[in-house]
Symmetry: C3
Subunit: 141 residues, 3 copies
C-alpha cells in the first residue's frame, strides 16, 4: 500500500456578504476556517480582499463594545458631515475604508488560520447596506 501526500491547490474564489446597516463589522473567521478545511491546505497563506472602495477588512477582537468604539473613532477622524469634493456624498466612507485597507493576510497552520486568542477577521462596511464581494485566496506554501 502506498500513501500519497494530499495534493492541495490554490483556492481563489469570490463570495458575497450582505450588510444590513450603514456601518457595521461582520465576522468572517468561522467561514474562512471552513473554506481552509475544505481546501485541504495544511500550511500556507490566507489572503482576503474586499472588492469595493467603501468597505475594508479588519482584524481585531470580536467584542461588541469595541466594534462600536472603532466605528465611532473613525467617524470622529473622518466625519460624514465634513466637506468632501467627491460627488457621491460618501467621501468619508472611501477614506475610512482606505485607512483600514482592502486586504488582510494571515498564515494558515495545521489546516486553519493562525491567529491570536482575540483575533478575528471582519468585513468592515462604511456605506451600507449593500451586497459586498470578497476574494478569498488560500495558497499552500
Amino acid at each position: 500500500m502506498w500513501s500519497l501526500p494530499m495534493v492541495t491547490k490554490t483556492v481563489l474564489r469570490e463570495f458575497s456578504v450582505k450588510t444590513t446597516q450603514r456601518e457595521e463589522l461582520i465576522e468572517l473567521t468561522a467561514q474562512i476556517d471552513r473554506e481552509i478545511q475544505a481546501s485541504g491546505i495544511h500550511t500556507g497563506l490566507c489572503h482576503l480582499t474586499v472588492l469595493h472602495t467603501t468597505a475594508a477588512i479588519w482584524v481585531n477582537e470580536a467584542e461588541p463594545g469595541l466594534l462600536d468604539d472603532l466605528l465611532r473613532a473613525l467617524s470622529r477622524l473622518v466625519p460624514a458631515d465634513g466637506e468632501y469634493a467627491h460627488p457621491d456624498g460618501n467621501g468619508h466612507a472611501h477614506i475610512k475604508a482606505g485607512l483600514i485597507g482592502p486586504s488582510k493576510t494571515l498564515p494558515i497552520q495545521h489546516g486553519r488560520l493562525l491567529r491570536g486568542t482575540w483575533q478575528d477577521l471582519f468585513l468592515a462596511e462604511f456605506d451600507g447596506p449593500r451586497e459586498r464581494k470578497i476574494a478569498l485566496q488560500l495558497i499552500p506554501t
Copy 2:
C-alpha cells in the same frame, strides 16, 4: 504534437515613478496589468511595496475629488505644521505614509489584477517631488 503548459516564474523587479508635487496620488493599475500580462502569470499574487518611508501604496477610487479629499483628510489628522521631534521637517509625511502602509497585495486572476469595479492602485506621495522606487512582485500560485 505535444502541448506544454506555459511555465511561469516569480517576477521581482523594481521600477521608478517620478512625482511632481509635494503630495499626490499617481495611478499604477494600467502599468501593473501590463507587467502581469508580460509575465504570463494566470493566477497568483501581486505584491507592491514602495521602498521609501514618506510614500505609500493606496487602493481606492480614481476620482480626482476623492484623491484631494484623502490628502486633505490626512493633513487634518497629521498636520504638516504640528510639532514633531523628527529632525527633517517631514515627520508628518512619515506618519501619513505609515498609516496607509508601504505595501498592498491583490490577487491575480485570468492574467490580470482581480479588483473591484472602482478599485485602482496608486503611489501616494507625501514628501515630493522625488523619484520613488517600487518593488513589484508577481507570484504564480
Copy 3:
C-alpha cells in the same frame, strides 16, 4: 561532481518579544534578516503577523524622534482618556493597533529583506508591558 540546487522550504514559526513600556516600537529587522539567512531562501515573501489585538507591525524609519512622533500622533487621534464602550480600559490600544494593522509583507531578494534605505520593521506595542508572540512566515517563490 554534481551541484544540486539548494532546496528551500517555507518557514512558519513563532517567536516572542518582551515589551517593557506601555507604548513603544521595537525594531525587528536584524532578527528577521538572520532568520531569512538561516532559511536559505534567496527570493520570496516575508510575512510577519503579531498574534495580538493591541499590538501591530510598523514599517518606517528607525529615528528615535520619529518613533515618539508616531506614538504621540496616534494618541492624539485615539486618546487613551476618550470614552470607549470596550470594558477592559484599553479600547484606544485596540483601535491604534487596528489602524496600523497586525501584518506586514516585504519581498525577500538576495537572501534578505528587500527594503528601502530608511525602512525598518517594528513591533508596535500599545498596551504593554507584555510578552508578544509574532508569527514569521518566509516563503520561497
